[in-house]
């Protein structure tokens, strides 16, 4: 009989977070490193991609999120203008330096023009990969949008079938939907902790936990999140005197981890739009009936919001205010990636709106390749102090 090892929730959480951080920097798996049951990987660019379709095709969906601040740019500077955002440039670099050569395909979306151009760069440089734009609609309000999205998903399904030589049955799609529904539930739980007991889970930790899905099968991510949530539930950390804020501007290009840590050091980030594409569908996708229709309908009817999706039902100011009020935040950190046109436009609109409503906010611009955070640290500290002062 073996002695029972006492459960150390803190060690367990640290273990999970360490794995997540390793995954953040991990290369795209290929060959023998592919998880069992997968024949290849399908890269996709932010924001949203219906991973279920790739999952059901036996292709591991891999979010391509740029190169972070450790990547040396050797090729992309000559291929993309200096005025293009970092995530596009470093994604091109990852392609050109061979880091993404094992992908079976790379799919981007009409979120902005720089992102659409990545499909062209891919088709010129990596013609062996399936490089496409998945034309998700910018008009989700006209009757017929669901039908259009379903047709676009069917097209993707057929492309992946051709690429893998394997048909994707409705049943396989429904099974994938169920796995992702579980994931959506777990991620909602994670964000509920942030909202209700932010001292138990920092924004950086939650980001790492979420981001892990970009390199491993969803089933494995579910298990990882389950372990993390158990351990977080047992964390006994006392609440500190920090203001509650929401973070916006992380929907596409990834802010450096150090930036999130800097904000965590001074504030409780009780909601954010980091990796919002991985959490795009806000409730369960029906797992009965036509699975492609179910995914399409969820995209149109039950989805999140971002600066790169127009939807007359959700104004940008409206969803920011909804984030602030539902998370009972005291203020907002309005960020934008340098050279990100949609993000920069929104930052102006948001700040004007918060001015009108007298909601305190801090404006920050970031670049994935940033390495110095001292000045940002001072700005955040001053902002947090002023918030606490107003709240006192």
């Amino acid at each position: 009989m073996t002695a029972q090892i006492p459960y150390d929730h803190q060690a367990e959480l640290e273990d999970v977070l360490e794995r997540c951080n390793a995954l953040r920097q991990a290369p795209v798996p290929s060959g023998d490193a592919l998880p069992e049951g997968y024949t290849g990987t399908l890269g996709h660019f932010p924001v949203y991609f219906p991973e279920e379709i790739a999952h059901a095709a036996g292709l591991l969906p891999v979010s391509v999120l740029g190169g972070g601040n450790k990547l040396e740019m050797k090729h992309a500077d000559a291929r993309m203008g200096s005025f293009v955002c970092s995530i596009c440039r470093s994604t091109a670099e990852l392609g050109l330096n061979g880091s993404l050569q094992s992908l079976s395909g790379f799919i981007t979306h009409p979120i902005c023009d720089a992102a659409k151009h990545l499909a062209g760069i891919w088709s010129r440089n990596f013609p062996e990969q399936l490089s496409q734009i998945l034309y998700l609609p910018q008009n989700v309000n006209t009757p017929g949008a669901v039908r259009y999205v379903a047709a676009e998903y069917q097209r993707l399904r057929a492309e992946l079938e051709r690429k893998t030589g394997r048909s994707i049955s409705d049943e396989a799609l429904r099974a994938s939907i169920r796995v992702y529904n579980e994931n959506r539930r777990l991620l909602r739980d994670l964000y509920a902790v942030r909202r209700d007991e932010p001292w138990k889970l920092s924004c950086t930790e939650s980001y790492l936990l979420t981001r892990a899905r970009t390199r491993i099968p969803c089933e494995e991510h579910n298990a990882l999140l389950g372990r993390a949530l158990d351990a977080i539930g047992q964390r006994r950390q006392a609440a500190q005197d920090k203001p509650r804020v929401v973070f916006v501007g992380g929907f596409c290009e990834q802010p450096p981890l150090e930036m999130l840590e800097t904000i965590d050091g001074n504030c409780y980030v009780v909601d954010d739009d980091l990796l919002v594409g991985l959490r795009w569908l806000t409730s369960d996708v029906p797992d009965a009936g036509d699975p492609v229709w179910a995914l399409a309908e969820s995209f149109v009817e039950r989805s999140a919001a971002s600066p790169v999706q127009h939807d007359a039902r959700k104004t940008k100011e409206g969803y920011l205010m909804e984030m602030i009020s539902s998370s009972r935040a005291d203020g907002a950190v309005l960020t934008a990636a340098k050279f990100c046109e949609p993000g920069l436009d929104e930052q102006v609109a948001w700040s004007k709106h918060l001015d009108q409503l007298r909601v305190p906010y801090l404006v920050l611009e970031f670049e994935e390749k940033m390495t110095s955070f001292e000045q940002m640290g001072m700005q955040v500290e001053t902002f947090a102090e002023s918030l606490l002062f107003t709240l006192a």
């Binding site: 000559a78 151009h117 499909a119 600066p307």
Partner: protein, 451 residues
């Protein structure tokens, strides 16, 4: 498909009076700006539209006065007032790193719609397609600052390299069905705004006029395949596409294009080129720099270099020269959706796979090189440009020049630097044996006979 339009369109008939396209273009533009200023007094509904994917045919059916905010912005550049408008918007908070057209327009809003060309009316609706994603962000600014409702027209674009859509195939049918659904939705909105019932016959009439304009426009484009090129695509061509946009679907537009074609045919027949001694035929890829366009052209023309074609003439005129784009006026709405979807793929969103069409156009226009004009303002044209250039250099050995400035922000124009680069480009073309001095290529006699 209706062919009556094409059969009836006179080709090559001599114009009654000499036609000065530039002067006539200016007159039409002044008329248009005057009509803008008067629209509120007339009680005419107003629509903001962009040049790529705009449903103008439907709006004209409802008698909307059209405002082209991109043209307003570029006109601030042409009239040397853009910096002031841009500064006002940057003071308001707009980032230096976004499209300068948007910034000039925000400046215009902050200046209570006072434009150097006249007062710009506020719109009752804005149509923003997804062809350039900035259109949508721009329309959202009007939603906020002017309470103008935005209708986003979602056009499924070219999905990948070598993406061939043929009229009537399953993909085209599916895409057109979605576009048609949106047109029906838009029509309902227009009915509510104007209080008028939609009139299908009027739509057919507008389409017939567009067909005729496009017929002449295609011929005008084709005629520049001749050596020497009768016009400069990046100077004269800018007036032409201005008319293609602003007067699309009008009798004035048809007449302008008809007379323009006649005039250019006459030049071709006489062997008259835009430059006295055409030594280099070039293709311009990108957007103009409206603040310094004459200067830029001068830098090229002094070397005998003429822009025989520019992709700007295709995408900034709605992609209508991209082939087979003729409305079937016997089924106006369905045809409008089908052609709009095709134009989106063949003439607009193919910008993201620019190497394909540029490779073709290099052959069609028999050019000696490509000039790429990259600008921070416009990621729609610029983001993939350096890579496209690299590809064309490597695969097709097409000589090219890359220069950078801006559409309308004079702060990005560096005269000495651009002149140096242009001169060095021509020196290298000479060294490569291109364009022998004072030895213009022979006129391709058959070119310009458009099908």
């Amino acid at each position: 498909m209706t062919t009556a339009t094409l059969e009836n369109a006179p080709a090559g008939a001599p114009a009654a009076a000499p036609f000065d396209a530039r002067a006539e273009g200016q007159r039409l533009f002044s008329d248009w700006y005057a009509a803008l200023a008067d629209a509120p007094a007339r009680g005419q509904p107003v629509a903001n539209v962009f040049v790529m994917g705009n449903a103008v045919e439907i709006l004209r059916t409802f008698d909307f006065q059209l405002v082209f905010p991109e043209i307003n912005s570029l006109q601030t550049g042409v009239r040397k007032a853009s910096e002031e408008y841009i500064r006002v918007s940057e003071d308001y908070g707009m980032s230096p790193d976004v499209c300068s057209y948007v910034k000039a327009d925000v400046g215009l809003i902050l200046k209570e719609q006072h434009h150097p060309a006249g007062q710009i009316p506020k719109a009752d609706i804005a149509i923003a397609s997804n062809m350039c994603s900035t259109f949508i962000k721009w329309a959202e600014i009007w939603e906020r600052m002017l309470n103008t409702p935005a209708f986003v027209l979602d056009l499924p674009g070219q999905r990948g390299g070598n993406w061939q859509v043929r009229p009537g195939d399953a993909q085209h049918a599916a895409d057109a069905r979605w576009v048609e659904a949106q047109f029906r939705d838009l029509i309902e909105k227009c009915e509510r705004i104007t209080g008028k019932r939609f009139d299908m016959d009027r739509l057919a009439e507008v389409e017939d006029r567009v067909n005729r304009m496009v017929y002449h426009w295609n011929n005008v484009m084709q005629l520049n395949r001749v050596c020497p090129a009768p016009y400069n695509a990046m100077l004269d061509g800018l007036t032409y596409i201005g008319i293609m946009n602003v007067y699309r679907g009008t009798t004035e537009g048809v007449e302008f294009m008809r007379r323009l074609e006649d005039e250019i045919r006459g030049k071709v027949a006489r062997g008259e080129g835009r430059v006295a001694q055409e030594r280099f035929r070039l293709l311009f890829s990108g957007t103009p720099c409206y603040v310094s366009m004459r200067r830029l052209i001068e830098l090229f023309e002094t070397w005998g270099g003429v822009f025989a074609y520019s992709d700007y003439l295709t995408f900034a005129a709605g992609g209508m020269d991209a082939g087979e784009l003729v409305y079937d006026t016997s089924r106006p709405l369905e045809s409008l959706a089908e052609i709009t979807a095709l134009a989106a793929q063949r003439g607009l969103s193919n910008q993201f796979f620019a190497h394909e069409r540029l490779a073709q156009q290099v052959r069609d226009y028999d050019v000696d090189g490509i000039v790429f004009h990259g600008i921070k303002s416009c990621r729609f044209v610029s983001s993939g440009m350096a890579d496209t250039r690299d590809y064309l250099n490597r695969r097709l050995q097409v000589p090219s020049l890359y220069i950078e400035s801006d559409l309308i922000d004079p702060r990005y124009w560096s005269d000495a630097q651009i002149k140096n680069r242009v001169d060095a480009f021509f020196e290298s073309l000479h060294q490569q044996g291109g364009g022998a001095p004072l030895a213009p290529k022979t006129v391709a006699a058959e070119a310009g006979r458009a099908a």
